[in-house]
Amino acid sequence: MNRRYFLRAAGVSLALPVLEHFLPRCYAAAGAQPIRRMVCMNTNLGIYPGHLFPAMAGRDFESTPYLDIVKDHREQMTVFSGVSHPEVDGGHATEASFLTAAPHPGSSSFRNSISLDQWVAEKLGATTRVGSLVLTSNEGNASLSYNRSGVMLPADFKPSVVFKRLFVEGTAREVEQQVTRLRDGQSIMDLVTDQTKRLQKQVGAQDRERLDQYFTSVREVEERLKKSEEWTQKPKPKVAVQPPTDITNRLDVIGRTRLLYDLVHLALQTDSTRLATIALFGLNAVPVVQGVDQDWHNLSHHGKDPAKIAELKLIEAAQLAALNDFLAKLKATPEQGGTLLDHTMVLYGSNLGNAASHDNKNMPLLLFGGGFRHAGHLAFDQQNNTPIGKIFVSMLQRFGFETEHFASGKGRITGLELA
């Protein structure tokens, strides 16, 4: 623990976040496009549809038990119904396709494709200290984010570790060691590049493809190591917040979720990243939620038993209450002439439309903030669903990317205009 850090921990606040200080100069200029950000969450045991979807479409929908919880943000919210990823089937397996829309994740020959956040991360490059935050609420490293090769990026699970990476300045010696390690990494990449070139001459077409994959990866890592080296030598933003203490009780899902939300808020506020995904995993166990005493996964297979649905509601409501607080925090953070919520698209949903039957149609999906003219309840056909990829196209365009496609989505979603 270094000195400054010690003082801060002892309650001696040295500096409040000075956001403008960390923003690239061009954005500070008047009239420039605001910085856009995006946070995506998938809760993988579904959201009970009976408590979520309003009966009526449009801005004047009559609220529902779940939407009541986030009612403070009604003006900044669109709830979609009748949407799903076409040909994305296979029950629980579809969590892999939540942000990628890759078809048939349950099939034996499934290959994933790039996720929405990584698509953007590729474009943004090393604009921020970390390209994107890839987080999970659970042990293990499963995430929602996939790279261009369809490989799942390992998620960070401990908020304390991410906090340290983003906000805690190492000692001069630590920084130097880190820089040495990164430089060594670059030299090693040079060496394996040569090795790979040598091997490329010896192989058939099929293996060359694999080797090319490796070769491309080496180039990419070299680039990233260089950027990391630059960032390592820049000071980290100072934040007047206690570093988080990880919650080690895996049953305290809501507590863990809240810690992750706080971390994301801080990361966005300091422009340490502009992208985050959080895989919110359900449990095959009883979560710490007042009044719940049955296994969560089991409750999601409620078999229409009203008692189980009532318990399930307690869990899902607690999740939404945490989301509501996150949104409130974003809204309470002024920046760029508005609030953080104005510039952050927050997507919250589930890969399961009906968890009880593992149905992947009619997925629950909520979009908050981010600079849209929100439409209340956008209802599409329950039988013939609209591709969620179209919502993703709208989000990409909101970022300022001129694209008309994302996976199975062609063109923007109708009814949701940019603000």
Binding site: R148, I188, R250
Partner: protein, 782 residues
């Protein structure tokens, strides 16, 4: 390739039951296939209809890519199995169908055979996470959880060790760099030798929850504390906390008190704060009745970890007086802990890696010696001086620049650990050279790098057929072979999903972790037994024995099994057990924790046991939503489903085995009626459930033969020679896939048939099969 081609052709026509087949006619696409498609297929599969997403008009007679071959293989299979044209359409004349299949079959065969010759069958692939972890362990002699640092591996065709699943991308490489650092941190440890000590603890002296509960929830005997099956207080060994991470040896003296039978002592190791971290059931021991017995084991602990002891059986009753308790309990006399176990110092990793070199004073020549030795093992082959030179250069540059021998050496080692030569299985097309063969064998049976003995044989070019046989036997006898049983069953029978669901505790209050642990062990033990005794592959469908311990026997209602050790038990028909389909682990991974679905289990049977998977359900068909309120049966719901013609084709195959398996609940218990939470009449005393509707397990095979339950279903399967062959073929295919790291191509069917013919005369023995796989040309070629 004329021989293989002939075998292949024979195989094709044998399956068509046309044994009197003469030489293949040299048909053409335009003559044999095009008109056949037009006449019999285009009604549904032309450009405008495209039923099931298949447009045969667009299917080009080209076989350039593996994808095209796979597509044509699907067409061939549908024809061969008589699934297409569908039963309601008119049958094509046999000679026309034969001609079409012959052209398709030989075209795919020839194309794949050419590709196997030019590129090799299996593509280069990287190590998967398991293999990486094990290889680091054996290469550096360290225990580091590097697996957790790496991205999850994908599955292809259900396997995580096949080429198609093992792409590499930047994130892998980044993580390999980090993992290499983590492993080298441990391997090149410089800290002084940790102090090891040994101490004996008694729960009677405990100062915390256990101590405070003595005389209340815990009984004190003069020589032991007695635990019954209660949650509170947690029976933590609070006197001991691991001072540093490492291995600790435990010795514990236990016996079963007031009990005619043994009681289990389950050990949970890890962070013991109930609000913190994981505690895992790491092992379980028997406490024999009345007879103090010392159990000894070694536990890998993090700093501040300790253990917890749990037993099962009756609970005393939280507030019932201790004095009047007459039931059984687990008596724990004492627990001794020794550790951390340090062994030699510096540890083996340092000794074997750098010998007695002084890291502070090493020279470039020393570095070269260390690296040379390391690369031979890391690359699992001979490495030329020219190949080594760049690594030496890298180390020299770092040495010159930093002046630190240690840093320079470390950088060289790290470079080796991220190089393609370490990370990839590499082989040239054609016959595998000795080293590549040694690697393939080692990763097949051990999931790790070849050991010195295997590498030595490779170096001497002595991996002959006879030696391979010897090596297989030697390797199976090694504890590392447990990796084969565990990984293969994890993939083939989906046991890796064992924790995917937690059974509903109101419906299945008897479920506990000891049962889950026993379930997985049962299937492992069963597989091992079949392998050890070279029993028939058909044992996986039906066996007259089971491998059981007391917990499972109790669960299955089988008397006379005392103690947690697994043993072979001869089965009686009235127990309704035998084979893997009635094993609790398989039944659990095919259920969701609350209810079973005949569709899920039926599909599992077709895919994993019969090797004839049902295609994915068509688009826009909603899944059945289970209803546990007890009023409707799953069969009633399924019958509605089956009335639709679109669904009927597949569901007539899926539903019957699924129905038969309805006799087994979500944790593998045998049942005649469903347990239900509501709408029930006969509530079970002391339980929150009652019995609802009876299970309907009778059904008929597609050929009309009827069966009443799973026992009869299995008999029908095994009474039929073609089905027996198919079951054996399926295991053979799965094993060959796992062994060679490549899903079976169409052209590989000849090799499978060849292997099958050899093992058929030897009662389809599993060990025989394993040897035949290793001896096969498929295994010995790239």
């Amino acid at each position: 390739m004329p021989l293989a081609r002939n075998i292949f052709v024979f195989a094709v026509y044998a399956s068509l039951l046309v044994p009197s087949f003469a030489a293949p006619a040299s048909g053409s696409f335009a003559k044999s296939v095009q008109p056949f498609f037009e006449q019999h297929c285009f009604d549904c599969h032309d450009g405008s209809e495209q039923k099931g997403g298949l447009n045969l008009e667009a299917l080009k007679p080209s076989f350039d890519s593996p994808e095209a071959c796979a597509q044509w293989t699907r067409v061939f299979d549908r024809l061969e199995r008589g699934e297409m044209p569908p039963p309601k359409k008119s049958r094509p004349p046999t000679d026309q169908q034969k001609a079409a299949m012959q052209w398709i079959g030989l075209s795919v065969f020839d194309a794949e055979t050419r590709r196997h010759a030019s590129d090799g069958r299996a593509a280069w692939r990287r190590l998967n996470r398991n293999e990486y972890q094990n290889t680091i362990r054996d290469l550096l002699f360290v225990d580091v959880d590097v697996k957790a640092m790496l991205p999850e591996d994908g599955l292809s065709g259900g396997f995580d060790n096949v080429d198609a699943a093992l792409d590499v991308s930047a994130i892998h490489l980044e993580k390999y760099l980090e993992a290499a650092d983590a492993a080298l941190d441990v391997a090149m440890v410089k800290t002084p030798k940790p102090e090891s000590r040994s101490q004996r603890y008694s729960f009677l002296d405990d100062k915390r929850e256990v101590g405070k509960s003595i005389g209340k929830q815990i009984l004190a005997l003069p020589d032991a504390a007695v635990f019954t099956n209660e949650v509170y207080p947690p029976k933590r060994l609070d006197g001991f906390r691991a001072p540093v991470a490492g291995r600790y040896k435990f010795r514990m003296s236990i016996y079963a008190w007031q009990s005619p039978r043994s009681l289990p002592a389950m050990i949970y190791a890890g962070s013991q704060n109930p609000q913190r971290g994981k505690t895992e059931l790491t092992r379980a021991f028997d406490a024999p009745p009345g007879q103090p017995t010392v159990r000894e084991w070694i536990e890998l602990l993090e700093r501040n970890d300790t253990i917890r002891v749990v037993t099962s059986g009756p609970s005393k009753g939280f507030n019932d007086p201790v004095e009047s308790y007459k039931g059984p309990g687990l008596a724990v006399q004492w627990v001794e802990v020794e550790g951390p176990l340090v062994g030699e110092w510096p540890p083996a990793s340092v000794a074997k890696l750098i010998g007695d070199l002084n890291l502070a004073k090493g020279t470039m020549a020393d570095a070269e010696t260390v690296l040379r030795r390391f690369m031979l093992r890391a690359f699992r082959r001979e490495v030329s001086a020219a190949e080594m030179q760049p690594y030496f250069d890298l180390v020299r540059e770092k040495f010159d620049q930093s002046g630190s021998f240690e840093e320079a050496l470390r950088m060289g080692l790290k470079a080796v650990l991220v190089s393609p030569d370490f990370l990839f299985f590499k082989a040239a097309p054609g016959k595998l050279d000795d080293y590549a063969l040694a690697s393939r064998l080692s990763y097949f049976l051990w999931s790790t790098m070849p050991d010195d003995a295997l590498l030595a044989l490779a170096a001497k070019h002595q991996l002959t057929a006879a030696n391979l046989r010897q090596q297989v036997e030697r390797m199976l006898a090694d504890p590392k072979a447990q990796a084969f049983t565990n990984n293969f069953t994890a993939l083939w029978l989906k046991l890796r999903d064992i924790k995917a669901t937690m059974p509903d505790k109101k419906l299945y209050p008897e479920f506990d972790e000891l049962l889950e642990w026993s379930m997985v062990s049962e299937t492992h033990e069963f597989f091992d037994e079949v392998l050890r005794r070279d029993l028939s592959l058909l044992s996986f469908v039906q066996s007259d024995f089971a491998m059981l311990n007391s917990r499972l026997a109790e669960h299955y209602g089988i008397p006379g099994v005392d103690g947690l050790g697994f043993r072979k038990v001869a089965l009686q028909p009235e127990w309704h057990r035998g084979g893997v389909l009635t094993q609790a682990a398989v039944l659990k991974v095919t259920a969701n924790g609350t209810n079973t679905s005949p569709v899920v289990r039926g599909a599992f049977f077709l895919d994993r046991i019969l090797g004839r998977p049902a295609p994915a359900p068509p688009k826009n068909v909603p899944a059945i939503e289970p209803d546990t309120r007890g009023a409707t049966t799953i069969r009633a719901q399924l019958e509605k489903h089956r009335d639709v013609e679109l669904c009927a084709t597949c569901h007539s195959r899926i539903d019957p085995p699924g129905a038969a398996l309805e006799s087994y609940d979500v944790i593998g218990g045998f049942r005649e009626k469903y347990r239900a939470m509501t709408d029930y009449r006969n509530r079970v005393p002391g339980r929150q459930y009652g019995y609802g509707l009876p299970c309907e397990t009778d059904a008929a095979l597609t050929d009309g033969r009827k069966f009443a339950n799973l026992d009869e279903f299995k008999s029908l399967l095994l009474s039929d020679a073609t089905t027996r062959d198919q079951i054996a073929r399926n295991v053979t295919e799965k094993l060959l896939t796992y062994a060679t790291g490549h899903a079976l191509d169409f052209a590989d069917r000849a090799a499978v048939t060849d292997i099958l013919n050899r093992i058929k005369t030897k009662n389809y023995g599993l060990r025989t099969l394993l040897h035949e796989v290793v001896q096969s040309s498929t295994f010995r070629n790239k």
